[in-house]
Symmetry: C2
Subunit: 325 residues, 2 copies
């Protein structure tokens, strides 16, 4: 089978297509004929710093496809259309997946749409509800509203959380799209001071919850934007990781709960439990178009270099998809 | 009545005894004839930066004494011996207290012992259980084990939390005392690298929970000492508030939950709920000496300057008490 690996740690030009043996599903695993895989920032990090993910030399952490073969103890039928997270190996014609990560694709969705769901919607679900404990009628600030996780978080916070959603993005096009997904307040961070706008929108109270994919460059404004006793979930560092000046008293006097998190390195058990709860709460809503996967652009398998470059340019609204089968 | 106020923001020499009218209890309040009050760091901060606490020019946030008079709707009887938090005004012969903060003093305790309970034991209870979610058999790191909150936290983590308690202090005398309170592992931070000792004591996993009264000077070692998915509660900045170099990726890759908190500024409702739960869980244990208030030294009312200086010298093990009535 054809699969995408990294020659040497570096830029998109290091990506290559290689020939591999089709993997065998072990007990509790599925072999999937991959129809579409999605591109994630973790793939770019793995491309730049190592070769592949975990011990898998093949990139890619989420796919949509057709069950080709099942290992012992698996009750999913061959031929089922499924989507889900994999432990690397997603950029390939075939990949194995633990059966408890598999989600049945609602019939109204294409494989490209389905491949755009698992990583961003599971991350958004985990951070909004498991870590962020979002309640109805609370105010949540979703940064990078046009990003993959941002577009998922806006929808989940609105449709499942019944919250008031404030979002930031850098263009009118992105902000209009965020509104179409359900955002209540849209802030152009290039033209406005988002902390002032957040305070205006919350009667000077600030938000109950921040979903922060930005990190260092937004630190001070996030501190201004958060309510006393607010929760702040740090899930990305698009604006840098290094802070030169932190006053811990500010965290104490506002009684802030700051939680750092990453989904990809978590245990199989965690991902299985998250997948189960997420599926129960959302698959019907995808099925009736209340929740919408957001596909920015679909690239052919041999256009993987362009697909990575497109993500690195930060021009996308929603997910970048690799069409495989 | 006599009460202690601040002439001008500054050192202990600014403390003075003044004559005030006895306060009147409003609906839902008690008037207490104060027998003992405790000295807290918040009193020193208020002495240095302002005059009194909230709108109360009289210092002091916790007392033990005898109910002298009750406002409408209060069911506690005149003459009851009670201890609890007050909204300032504790360094005085009489003070008012919301009735729902009043805890009946177990008969085996003196007023001086009782006055040493509310602030530190409620803070330790809140941070260990409400914020830190400590579970049985988890490892908890309690810094400043000889401090007021430290001595309370060691006992509560052990007796109520059934946890494994690791503590740090700066002298053999303090560490021996911590052991007598139930600590399992004692680390002299002046002679040992506490992070290395914590990893040795936890099979290189780190602790599930850190109670941090230190802040900036322990930041890096706390990061080393905490387990993946660990909780870190920041409740003091004895080692400074300002960090010059924070790498947010470290919070994300260890998936740390860092929560800043302060007890004193919280709402009446919060303190009432905390007092109710704490009383139900602990008063019997104080009554049978399973939990022990820790009194370092008792000062006479007119020795308040020496009492503040004693706290500022960091020599105390446990609480510094002002004998009032």
């Amino acid at each position: 089978m054809k699969a995408i690996t990294v020659k040497q740690p570096g830029g998109a030009e290091q990506l290559q297509i290689e020939e591999f043996a089709k993997p065998d599903p072990r007990d509790g695993e599925l072999l999937i004929k991959v129809k579409a895989a999605a591109v994630n920032r973790t793939d770019i990090l793995n491309r730049e710093t190592s070769k592949g993910y975990l011990n898998n030399p093949i990139l890619g952490v989420e796919v949509a496809g057709i069950v080709e073969e099942v290992g012992a103890g698996v009750e999913i039928e061959v031929g089922t259309h499924i989507m889900g997270l994999v432990n690397g190996g997603g950029y390939a014609e075939y990949v194995v997946m633990p059966a408890e990560r598999a989600m049945v694709i609602p019939e109204n969705l294409s494989f490209e749409e389905a491949a755009s769901i698992p990583e961003v919607f599971l991350t958004a679900y985990q951070t909004l509800f498991w870590i962020g404990h979002l309640h109805a009628d609370e105010n949540v600030l979703v940064h990078a509203g046009g990003s993959g996780v941002g577009t998922a978080a806006i929808q989940l916070a609105k449709q499942i959380g019944q919250a008031n959603v404030i979002t930031t993005a850098g263009s009118k096009e992105k902000l209009d799209f965020c509104r179409s997904l359900g955002a209540d307040v849209e802030i152009n961070y290039k033209e406005q001071n988002f902390d002032e706008e957040v305070l205006n929108a919350t009667e000077n109270q600030g938000v109950d919850l921040i979903l922060d994919f930005i990190g260092a460059s937004y630190w001070s404004k996030n501190l201004e934007s958060i309510k006393v006793d607010g929760r702040w979930v740090l899930i990305g560092i698009l604006g840098g990781a290094n802070l030169e000046n932190v006053n811990l008293m500010e965290l104490m006097s506002k009684r802030i709960q700051l939680t750092g998190t990453l989904l990809t390195p978590r245990s199989d058990e965690y991902k299985a439990a998250l997948t189960a709860e997420f599926s129960a709460k959302t698959l019907d809503l995808f099925g009736n178009n209340t929740l919408r996967p957001v596909v920015d652009q679909v690239f052919a398998f041999n256009q993987i270099q362009q697909a990575h470059e497109h993500m690195e340019n930060n021009k996308n609204i929603g997910k970048i998809i690799l069409k495989v089968g």
